[in-house]
Symmetry: C2
């Protein structure tokens, strides 16, 4: 079965250090991992200085419905309240080279 890919770029303010972001992200990610439909997740950190998006999460979900249900849960909403600006969307792979 084909999965859907969540790609979520985070605009992390310069004055927030990596450890603080990673701690908050880890809590939210642990919750998502416990939800139905979660497949896997890879968090990426920029190698170059001053990136537009310092962190990008690339995850797989079984369906948009499972992902939306997890995002809309009160537990996740509470954990995501202090998260830096981010732009989550679900994708499908259309070209492979």
């Amino acid at each position: 079965m084909k999965n859907f890919v969540l790609i979520n770029p985070f605009e992390v303010p310069e004055d927030m250090d990596d450890d603080r972001f990673l701690e908050d992200w880890g809590r939210a990610a642990d919750y998502m991992r416990s939800r139905p439909g979660f497949v896997s997740s890879q968090l990426h950190r920029a190698v170059s200085p001053n990136p537009r998006f310092r962190f990008v999460n690339v995850a797989e979900w079984e369906s948009p419905q499972y992902f939306q249900a997890a995002v809309r849960s009160p537990e996740f909403q509470a954990m995501a309240a202090g998260t830096p600006s981010n732009y989550p969307a679900l994708y499908e792979v259309v070209r492979v080279l």
Copy 2:
């Protein structure tokens, strides 16, 4: 050997249709594929309507140096001239769930 991950989100204007973007991207991607250090590439298209980034390229390169050399080449610069706004950066994977 650990590869580096290029993540490049594209802000595609609503009046540009998918086929036009895919044609231009395909030409640039074919060029990149011919350069030293290129490993693989997966182009993602958003499933949901009105996404901030309609397309996101997730590719692997052997090193930042190879990637920068390919990007700076006059051939690539010419092909990328009419591309919608995009935010390429190199990443490493820091968490896997």
